[in-house]
C-alpha cells in the first residue's frame, strides 16, 4: 500500500470534508431548529436551501450584466450575495410555515409532513418554471470571481483556494452568530423555552407563534447562506440540486441528535468528513474494489452503526430531566 500517498492527501481530504461538513451543518440547523420547536420535519427545507443558491446566482449574474461584478470589491459582492440569499430563504421559510404548516398545527402528525413534501415539489418546479421563462436555462453556473479561484500553496502537496477559506470563515461566523443568538439573548432563551413547553412559554407572555416564525426565519436564513456558499464552492446548480444535500443534512441533524443545535453542527461535520474520506480513500484502501461512488454507502453505514449505539444521536438528550 502506498502509505506516503495516503498520508500526503490527508490534509487536502480533511479540508474538503470540513467544507462539505460546514455546508451540511448550516442546512442541518434549519431541520433541527424547526424540529426543536414543532417536532416536525420540514421536508421543504432542501428547497429553501436551494432558493438561496438561486437568489445568489441571479444577483451575481445581474451584477455581471451591468458590469459591477468586477467593479465592486469582491468581499462586498460576496457579502451582498450572502445577505440576499439569507433574506430570501428566511422569508420563504416563514411564508411556507404560515401558509402550509400553521393551519395544520393541530392535525395528525402525518398531515403537515405531506404538506411539506408537497411544498418541496412545488418549489422545485416553481424554480424550474421561473428559470426556464427568465433565462431559458435548467442548469445555472455561478459566475467566477477571479480572486476566489486563487490558490495558496501550503506545502508541496496541499493548496487551498481563497474560495474555500471564504466558505469556512463565513460558515464559522454564521454558526457563532447563531450560537450567540440562541444562548446569550432573551429572544434565544425564548426560542429554547418554546421548544421545551409551548403552553408554559405562552404563560410567560411569550407569543409562541411569533417565536415559531422567528425559528423558521433563522433556520431558513442559515439554509440560504448554505445555498450561496454551495454555489460559490461547487458552481453548478439546478432546481433539483437541493434534494441530496438536504437529505444528507437531515441525516446529519439526526446523527447529532435531532432538535439539538450543537448536535446539528457536529453531525454535519462528521458526515462531511466521512464522505470526503470515503470518496478519496475507499479505492486506495481496497485496491480499487470500491471506488469513490461507494462514498455514500460507506458514510451511511457508519451513521447506521453510530445510531445503533446512540439512538438519540451524538448529542441527543444530554440533560437528564427529573420528574
Amino acid at each position: 500500500m502506498d502509505y506516503p500517498l495516503l498520508l500526503g492527501i490527508f490534509p487536502q481530504v480533511f479540508l474538503d470534508g470540513i467544507i462539505l461538513g460546514f455546508m451540511y451543518a448550516l442546512i442541518a440547523l434549519g431541520y433541527t431548529m424547526v424540529y426543536g420547536v414543532l417536532e416536525f420535519i420540514n421536508f421543504a427545507h432542501s428547497e429553501i436551501f436551494i432558493v438561496g443558491a438561486f437568489v445568489g446566482v441571479e444577483l451575481l449574474l445581474g451584477l455581471k450584466s451591468v458590469g459591477l461584478l468586477d467593479g465592486l470589491p469582491w468581499p462586498l459582492v460576496l457579502f451582498l450575495t450572502l445577505v440576499a440569499g439569507m433574506a430570501a430563504s428566511g422569508l420563504l421559510a416563514v411564508t411556507v410555515e404560515r401558509v402550509a404548516y400553521r393551519p395544520l398545527r393541530n392535525a395528525p402528525r402525518l398531515i403537515p409532513l405531506i404538506s411539506a413534501i408537497g411544498i418541496s415539489f412545488f418549489l422545485q418546479d416553481l424554480i424550474r418554471l421561473f428559470e426556464s421563462l427568465w433565462r431559458n436555462a435548467f442548469n445555472l453556473v455561478y459566475p467566477t470571481i477571479d480572486v476566489l479561484n486563487l490558490r495558496f500553496e501550503l506545502t508541496e502537496t496541499i493548496d487551498v483556494s481563497v474560495k474555500s477559506l471564504v466558505v469556512i470563515v463565513a460558515a464559522l461566523l454564521m454558526l457563532w452568530a447563531l450560537h450567540v443568538i440562541v444562548n446569550r439573548t432573551t429572544i434565544g432563551t425564548a426560542i429554547r423555552a418554546v421548544a421545551e413547553d409551548q403552553a408554559a412559554a405562552s404563560l410567560m407572555g411569550i407569543n409562541v407563534n411569533r417565536i415559531i416564525s422567528l425559528t423558521f426565519l433563522i433556520g431558513g436564513a442559515m439554509g440560504g447562506a448554505a445555498g450561496v456558499l454551495f454555489g460559490v464552492q461547487y458552481g453548478l446548480i439546478n432546481p433539483y440540486t437541493g434534494f441530496i444535500p438536504g437529505l444528507k443534512a437531515f441525516t446529519a441533524a439526526v446523527l447529532g441528535g435531532i432538535g439539538n443545535i450543537p448536535g446539528a453542527m457536529l453531525g454535519g461535520l462528521v458526515l462531511g468528513l466521512l464522505e470526503a474520506f470515503a470518496a478519496s480513500y475507499l479505492s486506495l484502501l481496497t485496491g480499487g474494489a470500491f471506488g469513490a461512488e461507494y462514498k455514500d454507502i460507506f458514510a451511511f453505514s457508519v451513521l447506521i452503526v453510530i445510531l445503533i449505539f446512540r439512538p438519540k444521536g451524538l448529542l441527543g438528550e444530554i440533560v437528564r430531566e427529573r420528574a
Binding site: A190, E196, A199, M204, G205, I206, R322
Partner: protein, 233 residues
Amino acid sequence: MLSVDSLDVAYGEIRALKGVGLQVGRGEIVTILGNNGAGKTTTLKTISGLLQPLRGTITLEAESLVGVPPHEIVGRGVAHVPEGRRIFNRLTVRENLMMGAYPRRDAGVPADLERVVTLFPRLKERITQVAGTLSGGEQQMLAIGRALMANPRLLLLDEPSMGLAPVLVEQIFDTIADINRQGTTILLVEQNAAMALSIAHRGYVLETGAIALAGTATELADNPEVRRAYLGE
C-alpha cells in the same frame, strides 16, 4: 378584581365546567377546593387564556379576558403557576426567572429578581444551575418565583403542594401568605384543603364542574360537609 360568571368549558364532548362563577377581591387569597377531576385546573387555564370557554364571562378590573391570547393576559397582570410546575428543565434557574419577565420593558426587573431570590434563597444558590436538576421543592419555588417575575396583580396557583414533603408544604404556604401581604392577590387551587383554608380569606368548593359551596375560610372550615369530604374527618 377578578369576576367569573356562568363559565362553561368543554374538552370536545366532555363538559368540564358548567356555569362556574366566582369573585376574587383585590388583596384577597381565595381558594378553590375540589376532588380530582372537579375542574379546578380547567378553571385556572380558562382564566389565563389557555382554554376558551363555550359560554360565560371573565373580567379583570372591568376588562374582558375572554378571547385574549395567554401571552397578552400576562401583560394585563395575571400570572399562572400551572399544575405540575412546568418549569423549563433545560434552561438555567436564572433563564427561567428571566422568562417570567419576558414581556416587561420597565426598569423594575432587577429589583423583582432580587425580591424573588430573597423570598427563595435556595434559588439564589442555584441560579446558574440547569432547572431540570433541581429537587421537586426547588422546582416549585422556581415556578412561583418565575410567575412573580411578571410582577402580577393576580397570581393563579395550581396545587403548589403537589408532591412535596409536609415541611416544605408549610414553607411554601408561608411564602404564599407573604407574597399576598406584599400586595399580590391570589387565587389558589388546592387538594390540601387544611393548608389552603389556613391561609385563605375565602373559598369555593368545586364539584363535578360546578360551584357547590362558597364562603369565608372559617365558614368552610366549620362546615360539616367540608370537614367530612375535604378535611378527612
